[in-house]
């Protein structure tokens, strides 16, 4: 397993801006954790990833029928929005 990583790139992928101090501290923490999980690299596994279930009891995930049901009202859905107007969530422009 590789331990090299680019903290700025990971932060960008995770949409979190980090200060220089945070980058240094988190890089060092992640190195220690990745060093620890390195233990898995020597493990011989005959299981294929296709045979792995996300449900620990190896159950298929069950989805509801695609039928309209009572849900949050429009106002309830917007009740916690940091900025809403005219029944819509408001966000800054996507392009400068």
């Amino acid at each position: 397993m590789s331990k090299k990583f680019d903290i700025s790139n990971i932060a960008k992928l995770a949409s979190v801006s980090l200060s220089d101090d945070e980058k240094q501290k988190l890089s060092s923490d992640l190195s220690v954790i990745l060093e620890h999980v390195q233990a898995l690299s020597n493990l011989e596994l005959d299981t294929n990833i296709e045979d792995v279930y996300i449900h620990p009891l190896e159950k298929e995930l069950v989805l509801d029928e695609d039928i309209e049901k009572p849900s949050l009202t429009h106002d309830e859905a917007l009740s916690n929005a940091p900025k809403a107007s005219d029944g819509k969530f408001m966000v800054p422009p996507s392009l400068e």
Partner: protein
């Protein structure tokens, strides 16, 4: 009458026989939490007014013999990552400090049907990520047995609330031990049910394949009553299951396995002694005892700290400053999201999001997340094979007693190691319980963990109750309010 130390069944009997009223209990509970809160900080909010009204309604029902069931009028504390309609759900995060839930979690709807009363919302490590409740953005919770020590985490507020008798019992959530570890640190029972038997709908997701809601209580019977109320299939949770419980023997015909790997290095002598004490009791009662080996348990921290952060990084992507929670402005939507997440998340949450993002990123997926998933599958297989020989597995709940506040905050890996004994049950979806067994030389509680195969929750509770009677722990913290 001092009602705070009584069990749910004892309280119900007093209410039914009109020897006490739910509103009297609620007043006692509220006086207790008001006096202990400054020392402990178990709660993020207390619901005095609204719930006193509910307690009076409960008085009426008992007076007219129209009471609903065992939980009618019983004050429960709720971990603040479980949604109660029209109340704040902060997850102890600046990200959600003003979030008011527009809906009830399924567990709350179920408790409402039984007319349970809520004392308030309890403190936790931010988004349930931690083992000490020190990662809360709103200040740490302290252990009622000794306030220099942590109550455990992430459901540390729930455990401190019950241990200080500020609630009769509480709901917590357990992703890697977050119910069992604080229960053990605070001298209580903590039960993580079989994955899928309790709906996660309305629990703010941390790691969806591991999260499970369950009770923290003074006794196994209280845990059973709450589990029986909150469990059941829910179509609002795609991982909810509808399978029948399986019965295991819990008398001396049961076979008990001692997990070898959880009695070795990294486990304190005091924690091991508690297991030995339980084994001696079981031997005297004629149970079959054997040592069993689950080699992959040694790798469970490595497996967990790839899977849980990977799922967390996906689940917490929803906190983007658009639909709810904190927003910190930026010139573009993207800048706004980055600024919001930088300001809203604390250090541990950032650490896990970054770790998970890395484990899922192109080029590393197979090496990290894929490998962890495959190792998890192998661990599930190891457990299945051991459960052909054993009905119950016994281990310490925690490698040590509670640690001091601040002792592990600068070393994340050392903090993660405190979940060594509890993580395997989450990875394999097993029911697991911690019951208190005794006190350490520092006068802090210790406990043992019992695990059993999936869907044997009721048998596990019965077996644990038998042990609870034999152990007769029956101790309460004395100095919490001084």
């Amino acid at each position: 009458m001092e009602l705070l130390n009584l069990s749910i069944r004892e309280l119900n009997k007093l209410f039914v026989n009109k020897k006490a009223k739910p509103s009297e209990l609620y007043s006692e509970i509220f006086d207790r939490s008001a006096s202990s809160e400054a020392a402990l900080h178990a709660h993020l909010s207390l619901f005095e007014e609204t719930n006193l009204e509910k307690a009076k309604n409960s008085d009426e029902r008992f007076s007219n013999s129209e009471n609903v069931g065992l939980l009618d009028g019983i004050p429960l504390a709720i971990k603040d990552n479980i949604n109660i309609k029209n109340e704040k759900t902060t997850c102890s995060s600046k990200m959600l400090s003003n979030f008011v839930s527009p809906y009830n979690a399924t567990v709350i709807s179920k408790l409402d049907t039984e007319q349970a009363i809520y004392t308030g919302k309890t403190n936790l490590d931010e988004f349930a990520m931690g083992s000490s409740t020190e990662n809360s953005a709103f200040g740490l919770t302290r252990n009622p047995w000794n306030t220099d020590y942590v109550p455990g985490g992430s459901s540390g507020g729930s455990a401190a609330s019950v241990a200080s008798r500020s609630s009769i019992a509480a709901l917590g959530s357990d992703t890697g031990g977050s119910i069992r570890q604080p229960a053990s640190f605070c001298g209580l029972v903590g039960f993580k049910p079989t994955y899928g038997t309790v709906s996660r709908y309305g629990l703010v997701a941390f790691a969806s394949s591991l999260d499970q809601i369950g009770p923290i209580s003074k006794s196994v019977d209280d845990a059973r009553i709450i589990y029986s109320s909150i469990s059941g299939h829910d179509s609002l949770d795609s991982t909810s299951i509808n399978d029948e419980q399986i019965d295991l023997p819990f008398d001396k015909n049961a076979t008990i396995g001692i997990v070898k790997e959880l009695m070795e290095d990294g486990i304190s002598e005091e924690s091991k002694k508690e297991v030995d004490k339980v084994i001696d009791i079981l031997k005297q009662k004629g149970y079959n005892i054997k040592e069993v080996s689950l080699p992959l348990i040694k790798l469970s921290i490595s497996i967990y700290y790839l899977i849980a952060p990977a799922e967390c990084s996906a689940n917490l992507a929803r906190f983007d400053g658009v639909r709810y929670g904190l927003r910190v402005d930026g010139k573009t939507s993207y800048e706004m999201m980055e600024n919001t997440r930088a300001e809203g998340f604390g250090d541990e949450v950032k650490r896990r999001i970054l770790l998970g993002t890395y484990a899922l990123s192109a080029g590393y997926y197979d090496e990290y997340y894929g490998k962890a998933l495959r190792a998890r599958k192998k661990m599930v297989d190891e457990f299945s094979s051991i459960f052909k020989e054993c009905d119950y597995l016994i281990s310490p709940t925690t490698p040590t007693e509670a640690f001091k506040a601040g002792e592990k905050t600068s070393n994340p890996l050392e903090m993660y190691m405190s979940d060594l004994c509890t993580i395997p049950a989450n990875l394999a979806g097993l029911p697991a319980i911690s019951i208190p067994t005794g006190l350490s030389s520092n006068n802090l509680p210790l406990g043992v963990q019992i695990m059993s195969k999936p869907l044997t929750d009721n048998s596990l509770l019965n077996f644990s109750e038998m042990l609870e009677k034999e152990l007769d722990f029956n101790r309460t913290p004395e100095d919490w309010s001084k």
